[in-house]
Symmetry: C2
Subunit: 238 residues, 2 copies
């Protein structure tokens, strides 16, 4: 890991606890929508479940790149529709504002302090599917001391398309081998390794709640495995 200059971070799940944050905000929104019997955690899970299929059209080129903010709003319309709400929405509910809650997620407790330690030694940037706009506002909300915002907007496609990782390294004028991806998802790390990046796994075993069955542990010989961001900072002598 000696030649690493920058750490790129997956954000949703790795840096922020999207599920609890969305569920917390969903409760009053669901009541306003007349869906008070819907469990807000199930609501968060079903919203997130639409995430991969929504990006797939942009990955294949079937659809021109649109930022994740737009996909989040469309996914919300689909989700509410599946609960029987009309597509044109309730006048009393501001769906657009609610879809922007992805800008207001809470970080895992170890994140702000761990990132500050890491920042002393490494360039820090998200390599996320979130847009520059979303990541910028989320960083301000969650206190994430990034040095730059990289990710989907630069490559105009979504992870795990190789171009997204490569565009991030290129933007920093670094060889992929000088960048390590930090992620809680084994598939993200596989894609990063395929383009020559170094790989750091930090498990988030409750990202999907206490019943989570995936990504509980490292599934390959990643360059480093850390228990959280403070542990990572210690392992990297920050």
């Amino acid at each position: 890991m000696l030649e690493i200059s920058a750490l790129g971070f997956d954000v949703f799940g790795t840096v922020v606890d999207w599920r609890s944050s969305i569920a917390r905000s969903a409760r009053p929104f669901l009541i306003e929508c007349g869906l008070s019997s819907v469990d807000p955690y199930m609501f968060a899970d079903r919203w997130r479940a639409l995430y991969q299929p929504a990006m797939e059209a942009c990955r294949t080129g079937a659809r021109d790149y649109v930022p994740l903010d737009t996909l989040h709003a469309e996914m919300l319309d689909d989700l509410l529709s599946s609960f029987g709400l009309p597509r044109d929405g309730h006048e009393t509910v501001d769906r657009k504002a609610f879809a922007r809650l992805w800008e207001q997620l809470s970080p895992w407790p170890d994140v702000p302090g761990g990132l500050l330690r890491l920042k002393a030694k490494y360039i820090l940037a998200p390599i996320s599917n979130g847009s520059i706009a979303l990541m910028t506002r989320l960083s301000r909300h969650a206190g994430l001391p990034w040095d730059a915002i990289l990710g989907a907007d630069l490559s105009r496609t979504y992870k795990p398309t190789p171009r997204t990782y490569l565009a991030a390294a290129e933007a920093l004028q670094l060889d992929p081998s000088q960048v390590a991806l930090v992620a809680a998802h084994n598939d993200d790390l596989h894609a990063a390794r395929a383009v020559g990046m170094r790989t750091i796994f930090v498990p988030r075993p409750t990202e999907y709640g206490s019943e989570q069955t995936t990504d509980l542990r490292s599934e390959s010989d990643w360059d480093l495995v850390a228990t959280d961001f403070n542990n990572l900072a210690s392992a990297l002598h920050c």
Copy 2:
């Protein structure tokens, strides 16, 4: 100015004092090159004088976009050549490392504190001709608390091309009218206003030394004129 969400900053001259910084570092470099009789401030001025012509080919499309880092290195070769040094360089001098001194410029004294005050209320980002790589490293060196790095790399052309300002607003998913450009150069502000941005002039009357004759004062009815970044923070109630 009430609807402003983000402040975009010109960097070279407005945020950092490139001339003194380059001159300071140039002195030992010039000695190493056998050019000890060359005045380092004159050297800095002549390097910077090559800046606008170097970008022009990328603006017109005669040349594909290349990042400013590459132009700085080419400009240095041209400059040393004009002093009689062979183009292939001296083996004892690391020209590439010296060209990267643009990543290590010092901010004007009011900048770090002023930016921290402004950050409490506004999204802050450079809208500079510097690349993401250059701006990222410069920010770490100079302690600039940007929320995102915008500018030439996003538009793949250089200011004052309208696309560079527009790409910055678009990356934040803001209308240009929700962004104010902060600059010490009247021509930069003219270009920003032409695409619908708000405009803030902060004079830097010694950017080009004590004999400076340009941009000493506001040359139009900019939305705001401030004496420095702390004065700007106060004017914006930060």
